[in-house]
């Protein structure tokens, strides 16, 4: 019996024990991968203060969906603000763009609205408003307060500028015919341009109401005006009475303009009355120089073309003239006084746009070569107010458009009193040149001749035969009357004449009969004519 021999088997190279660490490794790798795949971006947001911000508690929300939590809050390096670091969800990655905005939402109570009441319980949170710029941004500067308009809201954002500060503040309404169509987003004073810049936002679809022809004016408070027709009180909506507001509209008589883009600039007028005074947007400056007295010509005086107002006088350019004269040592030469005028083509019913101004300027250029001149006219004899009139003068000396301090100039002509003086002088010259002496001599001679004639007439009238003439005339008329009496229907002559006429008629009848017969029978003169028997009238049976 053979002893059993042990069979040596080669054991497996890897122990089952290793299964556990491998599983752990795989799980770990999965967790790392999962964590890496779900982990969102980490961002830094700069705030002025950390009011309302709490580490690990303050949430970042977009459309009320939690996007992340503030991890830490620390002071910045300059110590003039804080930087909050926040970890966001991965899906927030796409929202982080160059112009993405953040602000802290807390409970806020103002005159016109109450917002963020829910934060009283839940605590403040950071609102995210995604932008549309370049993506991949991680550092942001938070807004001090919530923007009034959503970033993605449809509408139109415009800039209004005003030289004077008004009562309009952020949040005020923008009105169209009294209806709220937008709001004022911000008010800033531009120190360089020395104007107040208002950013307004007009909600869709009302932004279509805005075009290049509309004007914006301050519609705040109550407007009281007194005129010839009594007192007039204008009150806007209650909002605007207490809070102020901006109104806009197209001035009457102006055609709608072209659509405008975002951030277009408009002037903010003080009131609607100011717009009515200057309703046009486009215009151009000219200079007219007068050598006569400009007394009574005030800034704002009308500039007219044949009685139609086409602009206004801006100012007398005395300072500029003085400076120019000092520069070229021409002081004391009695130079003409330049007057700056502003002409608006839209007043001549041209469209209120730049192209009209260009075409108007070309028209002026052609007009000047054809005798167009500016003149100083008296508007009122009582007040002595003057205005500038533009018209054509056929006898004007040739001239063309020049420039004065970069302004084009329109040549002037002296009219009014000066023109009258010239005309009077011309008439006096003509009177002087009349051959008055010759005329008087001839007239004297004619009068002498007339005297002679009248003397002759007297002589004739005093003559006996002339006096007898009237008596003779009366006698003649009396005889004529007697003679005519003989021709009256009862007279013998009349009856004789009547009988003669009767005879004549009968003869004519006979001639007519004869010619009739001869027409029918030409030889009737020689040969006997058989007159056909007349048809016999027959009595009724």
């Amino acid at each position: 019996m053979a002893a059993e021999q042990a069979v040596v088997k080669k054991s497996s190279s890897i122990s089952n024990v290793w299964f556990i660490p491998i599983l752990a490794l795989l799980l770990g790798a999965y967790m790392v991968l999962h964590s890496w795949m779900t982990e969102g971006p980490e961002i830094e947001i700069a705030f002025k203060t950390a009011e309302g911000l709490e580490q690990g508690k303050t949430k970042i929300k977009y459309r009320n969906v939690d996007m992340g939590v503030v991890d830490s809050v620390r002071l910045n390096e300059q110590f003039d603000g804080v930087i909050a670091t926040a970890k966001l969800d991965r899906q927030a990655e796409a929202l982080l763009r160059e112009d993405t905005r953040f602000w802290v939402v807390t409970a806020s109570v103002s005159v016109d609205r109450i917002t963020g009441l829910d934060t009283l319980l839940s605590g403040a949170y950071i609102q995210l408003a995604p932008g549309t710029g370049q993506d991949g941004w991680r550092h942001f500067e938070a807004l001090e307060q919530a923007p009034l308009t959503d970033t993605d809201a449809d509408g139109l954002r415009l800039h209004l500028t005003s030289r004077e500060a008004t009562s309009i503040t952020t949040g005020d309404a923008v009105l169209y015919h009294g209806f709220k169509v937008g709001r004022v987003e911000s008010v800033e004073f531009d120190a360089n341009a020395r104007v107040v810049d208002y950013v307004i936002f007009i909600d869709a679809p009302y932004h279509k109401l805005v075009n290049t022809s509309v004007r914006f004016w301050d519609a705040s408070g109550i407007s009281i005006s007194a005129g010839a027709d009594g007192f007039q009180v204008e009150i806007g909506s209650l909002d605007t009475v207490f809070l102020g507001g901006v109104a806009f509209g197209t001035p009457p008589g102006i055609a709608p303009g072209d659509p405008v883009d975002h951030n277009a600039e408009f002037r903010l007028y003080e009131s609607f009355e100011e717009i009515q005074k200057n309703p046009y947007k486009f215009g151009t400056y000219y200079v007219v120089s007068f050598t006569q007295s400009v007394k009574g010509l005030q800034p704002g005086a009308p500039v007219e073309y044949r009685g139609i107002p086409i602009g206004r006088v801006e100012r007398l350019m005395l300072r500029d003239t003085l400076r120019l004269q000092q520069a070229d040592n021409s002081e004391g030469t009695g130079a003409a006084i330049p007057v700056l005028i502003y002409l608006e083509p839209a007043r001549l019913e041209m469209p209120d746009r730049q192209s009209s101004v260009d075409s108007f300027a070309r028209g002026i250029e052609t007009g000047v070569s054809n005798g167009m001149r500016a003149s100083l006219e008296s508007g009122s004899i009582i007040t002595g107010a003057k205005f500038v009139n533009i018209d054509y003068y056929a006898d004007a000396e040739p001239a063309q458009i020049d420039t004065f301090l970069d302004y084009p100039t329109i040549p002037t002509i002296e009219t009014g009193l000066g023109q009258i003086q010239y005309k009077v002088e011309t008439i006096l010259d003509k009177v002087n040149n009349l051959p008055l002496e010759d005329t008087v001599t001839a007239a004297n001679s004619a009068l002498a001749s007339l005297d002679d004639t009248l003397a002759s007439l007297d002589h004739i009238l005093e003559n006996e035969s002339t006096r007898d003439l009237t008596r003779q005339l009366q006698e003649t008329l009396s005889e004529l009357q007697t003679a005519l009496g003989g021709l009256s229907p009862g007279s013998g002559i009349y009856q004789s004449l009547d009988a003669s006429l009767l005879q004549l008629n009968r003869t004519l009848d006979n001639i007519e009969s004869l010619t009739g017969t001869l027409a029918k029978k030409p030889n009737a003169v020689v040969f006997p004519t058989t007159i056909p028997a007349d048809p016999e009238p027959e009595a009724r049976p």
Partner: protein, 191 residues
């Protein structure tokens, strides 16, 4: 040839020897008895214009020979121009029937005007008279009146036709005289 030349004067003389028929003339005058009593002139009326249609104004009496055709008689003529004859006849007849003389050129301020439109014999054996008359100066109160009547001929011939036409003119005069205001009113008015 010579014989022919001799015959010519003979022929001509023969021609002249023939006697043409002589025409008959008719006069329009009232048949009433001549009244020597003088009528007083009317102070109200006078006879104004008497006009006749041009076709009537010719010497011969007119006879209708067919539809729309008349023929003036060549041998039966009015003794005076028909216009004068009608005027004289009417003046006398109206004056007689009215009782006042409507002298032309009288003091009457109302003028009786007439227009004779038709006066001729018809195919049916009638004489026809169509006339219009009106007063001037009565402010149009009366208006124009029309007279249109026919009178059957009493016998054949133009004499009967002239007589019938005279009768018709007499009826017209009677109509006019009847339409005028009575002479009594005239006197009252004068008083």
């Amino acid at each position: 040839m010579r014989r022919a030349l001799c015959l010519l004067p003979v022929l001509l003389l023969c021609a002249c020897a023939s006697q043409p028929p002589s025409p008959t003339y008719y006069l329009l005058r009232p048949a009433a008895d001549l009244d020597s009593a003088q009528l007083q002139p009317s102070t109200r009326y006078t006879l104004g214009e008497v006009s006749i249609a041009p076709y009537i104004n010719q010497p011969g009496l007119l006879l209708e020979t067919g539809e729309g055709r008349v023929r003036p008689a060549a041998l039966h003529l009015w003794a005076e121009p028909i216009e004068a004859g009608i005027r004289t006849y009417l003046l006398q007849e109206i004056s007689r029937l009215y009782g006042r003389d409507l002298l032309p050129g009288g003091t009457g301020d109302q003028r009786i005007n007439l227009r004779i439109d038709q006066l001729h014999g018809t195919l049916e054996g009638d004489a026809r008279l169509v006339a219009y008359w009106w007063l001037d100066g009565d402010d149009g109160a009366m208006g124009a009146r029309r007279f249109a009547r026919s009178q059957p001929l009493a016998a054949n011939g133009y004499n009967a036709l002239a007589s019938a036409e005279r009768d018709l003119l007499g009826q017209l005069a009677a109509d006019i005289a009847a339409a005028l205001q009575a002479p009594v009113d005239e006197e009252n008015a004068a008083q």
